[in-house]
């Protein structure tokens, strides 16, 4: 029986395994060095904040794997020998595969800052990182202040986590406004204010120069590049993005770029070796307007769903549909469908509406020549994925979308609706513009 080995028990590895099992009775082994069972990385913050226990982050009960005849192996792969189709483990043993799927995810970026490997410095990606935060920032007596470096989606989660335990947080963000490389000004500005309302010391436009240590090799302060200011702290979170977790593959003959290079079929340069999820890099550049490396939950899952078909004899391309994503900034939920870039590109315009309470807003992007609806960002108002997906496929124009916005509303029953305000603002906007 064909033996499929998957390195990585994250969302992409587990999805491909589940779907291969649905389609076939091949022998499946999932290898991971991180945890015994699949857990949801996206929920790490809730464990620290006390909303959940770690076991709640595991989507399947432990009998699930045996029942579905999926073997789990804990171990760290240190070398892939493609000639003999063998995995070598750091623990000394080895395993033979017929087909190999690399789904090793990401690791936090470190940009060579002095002091970046001190005790009390960590990213937030693996379960071990969470244990680090727990050790060095358990409460506001042990940790008098924490500094977070890098203003992205993980940075803000870490900031929320630490302040949930009453730890004062200084948040260093390189951009002049939070996540402004992705979010348009109006939204980014609203999030800046929301962060400050949570008593987080948000420092916009600042970079980290170095991290200083005390006599025990533990972090004691950081220095800001621009001002030279020294901020005493007991924990530093490095959240300046992630990159593919592929160092151990460098000794093999699989072609690497920033990630594992794959074609549209998710095949690597070596036969019978595939890569999916955060660690895969599209060799011909991003699909559609996507990036070559897509480090999000959904794309990992979709790659897994696609690759299972190929592995089971129905070779198909990875063709993701319309882009969507979501996140939460402290108390404000964010969803996006289609494409809204930070600045309108050529022949594009943004319509922005913000509620006076400063916690809800939307930005709609459309084509100024054809009026085609291109995408929407929504904050504090839930929208229906299915409806926007359909409208994007049907290439609705922006007027249609604005007229029918109520159809896409997904807020709980009895919530206040804002479609009328939004439509009025949109019409006035067209007149004044």
């Amino acid at each position: 029986m064909e033996h499929i080995i998957i390195i990585g028990n994250g969302i992409s590895g587990v999805t491909v395994a589940r779907h291969i099992r649905k389609l076939s009775d091949k022998k499946i082994t999932i290898v991971s060095a991180e945890t015994d069972y699949f857990f949801s990385r996206t929920a790490l913050m809730y464990v620290y904040m006390g909303h959940m226990k770690f076991e709640h982050t595991q989507p399947y009960e432990s009998w699930f794997w045996e029942k579905n005849n999926i073997t789990l192996k804990k171990g760290f792969v240190k070398h892939i020998e493609t000639a003999t189709k063998t995995l070598e483990f750091a623990e000394g043993d080895s395993l033979k595969y017929d087909k190999l799927i690399i789904a090793t995810g990401s690791k936090p970026n470190k940009f060579g800052w002095p002091g970046q490997d001190l005790k009390g410095v960590s990213g937030l990606y693996h379960k071990q990182d969470l244990e680090n935060v727990e050790q060095y920032a358990p409460n506001n007596k042990v940790c008098k202040r924490a500094v977070i470096v890098g203003g992205g989606l993980i940075g803000i989660e870490l900031a929320e986590m630490l302040s949930s335990r009453g730890i004062p947080v200084t948040f260093l963000v390189r951009e002049k406004s939070f996540w402004n490389g992705v979010l348009p000004d109006g939204e980014s500005g609203m999030i800046n204010r929301h962060i400050k309302n949570h008593h987080i010391d948000l420092r916009l436009g600042f970079n980290l120069k170095e991290i200083k240590s005390d006599e025990n090799g533990q972090v004691s302060s950081i220095i800001i590049t621009e001002t030279g200011e020294e901020i005493p702290c007991n924990y530093v979170g490095l959240t300046a993005g992630v990159s593919p977790n592929i160092d151990f593959i460098k000794t093999s003959d699989i072609e690497l770029g920033r990630g594992v290079k794959v074609n549209r079929f998710l095949e690597t340069s070596v036969e019978d070796v595939y890569a999916i999820g955060d660690c895969a890099e599209q060799r011909d550049g991003g699909i559609d307007q996507r990036r070559p490396i897509e480090a999000v939950w959904y794309t990992g899952r979709m790659m897994g769903e696609t690759l299972a078909q190929t592995i089971c004899g129905n070779r198909i391309q990875y063709k993701p549909g319309h882009w969507f994503n979501s996140a939460k900034f402290l108390d404000i939920e964010y969803q996006t469908y289609g494409w809204v870039f930070a600045k309108p590109r050529e022949n594009e315009a943004h319509f922005h509406w913000k509620h006076e309470d400063d916690t809800k807003c939307i930005t709609v992007c459309y084509d100024t020549t054809t009026n085609l609806f291109l995408g929407i960002n929504t904050f504090g108002i839930r929208m229906r994925h299915e409806v926007f997906d359909r409208w994007l496929t049907e290439q609705k124009d922006v007027n249609y979308v604005m007229d029918h916005l109520a159809e896409a509303n997904f807020d709980p029953e009895f919530f206040k609706h804002f479609e009328k305000d939004i439509l009025n603002a949109f019409k006035n906007n067209l007149i004044t513009a």
Binding site: Q58, N140, S164, R165, K319, G321, E333, M383
Partner: protein, 546 residues
């Protein structure tokens, strides 16, 4: 993991001590409780005054505490530290609270004289029950009973913790409205109106205590002879209530459940649900989500339902049997019509819903149906009232009477289901098993509404395409132990008989994935193999092939 500050607070910020307002609230609230406890040992001069002070102190203590907790928080989800706090994570305080509550229920149900019931001169009340006399007199004109004490405390708890809940969910109008609704129904329907109606009673006219929203089979004594007789004897108005009760069970309830799901009752009206959602809110995360708990639930709740149907049928048929001329129909007509009715319902479901029923569900349904019909046939042939049963053998000696067969059935139900399950375990174990064990595992009303919700209702929880990140907040905070995530991460709608529509899964979801709504029956349950967000070809391919 690590050294999280585990403080001993009732609730509150794990990384922080109780703030001043919370401390004041705690002291005042416990002070109010202390007055009640003191009344056990010391008869106050002025019960009315002390009772007022006590109840006000309990309520304002809870409300002050909640203000301290939520005052300077922005609108949003407030679950910080839930699993660190001793009280809400089955810690030391949780167990203490569980033991105290359980103890209270045992005394209430079986040793009410310890509370002072009828312990004074000429059977007047002393102690705690005596403390509540003035309020009872004010409402119904009669002295208090242990049930009046319980009803009052119950209502105060729903009101005060309801206000706490309103503060916690100030950003969520669904949560606010349904909480206001249970607060209203508890206060008006369960407490004030029936007490006031008792004033109408005289030597020639009397109505049983009638909480209109408490319907059969949750109200398992709804159709017992003394009640039915009282209604019939009270002429027009009594008949009106009797017919209303029957209409609510067989017409109003099915209609509302069809339109809105069982939530219209369980989360908007019901008193048990009301207490669970307010006083029990801090314990919702303790429900068991495992597959084995689900299996137990399906077996248990339907068994209780069968038991309650059989018990009611036996009760009614017994008094129809020995009083054939007093009522409109005879024992045999009654039994036959019940059997015909059940068979028709069962056959209809088995035929029209055969595609929706999984094999194990169908097997279970056939088993429970056969059991019910079997009992009904049995009742037709034997005269239950001739059988004598010694209760001491079954009740650990708590009850030493000897009963006739039908009465034994009733008493056993009242003891096992009505007292032990719904009270001692259902509420006493809040801090251990979560706040809705009774609603999930034991309530026959929930059983009926659940079957209907699963098969004939517009209600579902819609999953928002491919947006789920499998974080698990929804499953953790589902008080009914439904593994909501298991559906959401597959892009499948949640249509489960046990869902009481509390809406908390939707509230706590950080990605806006879940929406409770009523919609058309087609496409209500749609299981996708591949989720939205993928290329349409792949979705077609996989979803249609299977």
């Amino acid at each position: 993991m690590g050294t999280i500050q585990r403080n001993m607070s009732l609730t509150g910020d794990a990384s922080d001590h109780l703030n001043t307002l919370q401390k004041i609230g705690t002291i005042i609230g416990f002070g109010g409780l202390a007055i009640i406890v003191l009344s056990l040992f010391n008869n106050f001069e002025n019960n009315g005054l002390w009772l007022t002070i006590s109840l006000l102190a309990i309520a304002s203590g809870i409300i002050l505490y909640a203000r301290g907790l939520y005052m300077d928080k922005l609108q949003g989800i407030k679950n910080h530290g839930v699993w660190f706090k001793s009280i809400s994570s089955r810690g030391f305080l949780g167990w203490i609270a569980g033991i105290l509550l359980t103890g209270f229920y045992i005394i209430l149900y079986f040793f009410a004289e310890l509370l002072g019931l009828g312990q004074g001169v000429d059977g007047s009340n002393t102690g705690i029950v005596g403390l509540f006399d003035p309020l009872s007199r004010l409402l119904s004109g009669n002295p208090a009973s242990q049930w009046f004490v319980y009803g009052t405390l119950y209502t105060v708890a729903i009101l005060a913790f309801g206000i706490k809940f309103l503060m916690k969910y100030k950003h969520n109008r669904y949560e606010q409205l349904r909480t206001l609704s249970v607060m209203f129904f508890q206060t008006a329907f369960a407490f004030v109106i029936p007490e006031l109606m008792a004033r109408l009673n005289s030597d020639t006219f009397s109505l049983p205590y009638n909480d209109l929203k408490l319907m059969w089979p949750l109200n398992y004594y709804a159709f017992e002879q003394w009640r039915v007789d009282q209604f019939i004897n009270a002429q027009t108005i009594g008949l009106f209530f009797l017919i209303l009760a029957i209409l609510i069970v067989f017409v109003v309830s099915p209609f509302l459940t069809y339109k809105y799901g069982k939530r219209w009752y369980c989360s908007w009206v019901c008193g048990c649900g009301g207490l669970a959602e307010t006083a029990g809110d801090s314990f919702r995360q303790l429900s068991d989500k495992s597959m084995s708990a689900w299996k137990l639930e399906r077996w248990m709740i339907n068994a209780v339902l069968v038991f309650s149907v059989v018990m009611t049928v036996a009760t009614i048929s017994t008094y129809l049997g020995y009083d054939p001329n007093k009522y409109w129909f005879t024992k045999n007509v009654f039994l036959t019509s019940v059997a015909v009715f059940l068979t028709a319902v069962f056959a209809g479901v088995a035929y029209w819903k055969r595609k929706e029923l999984k094999k194990d569900a169908l097997t279970g349904a056939i088993g429970f149906y056969a059991l019910t019909i079997g009992f009904i046939v049995l009742i037709a042939f034997i005269d239950l009232s001739q059988i004598k049963i010694d209760a001491a053998n079954l009740s650990f000696g708590l009850n030493t009477k000897v009963y006739a067969g039908d009465a034994a059935l009733r008493s056993f139900y009242a003891f096992g289901i009505g007292s032990i399950f719904s009270g001692v375990i259902g509420t006493g174990f809040y801090p251990i098993l979560g706040n809705r064990v009774w609603c999930r595992m034991g309530c026959p009303m929930a059983g009926i509404l659940g079957i209907q919700q699963r098969l004939f209702s517009k209600f579902r929880i819609t999953t928002n395409g491919g947006q789920c990140i499998s974080c698990g907040n929804c499953s953790t905070y589902c008080e009914q132990g439904i593994d909501v995530r298991a559906y959401a991460q597959k892009g499948e709608n949640i249509v489960r008989s046990s869902c009481v529509g509390c809406g908390v899964c939707s509230a706590v979801c950080p990605r806006g994935v879940l929406k409770l709504e009523n919609g058309p029956l087609e496409g209500r349950i749609d299981a996708n193999q591949v989720l939205l967000g993928n290329d349409v070809d792949l979705m077609d391919l996989v979803n249609n092939k299977n």
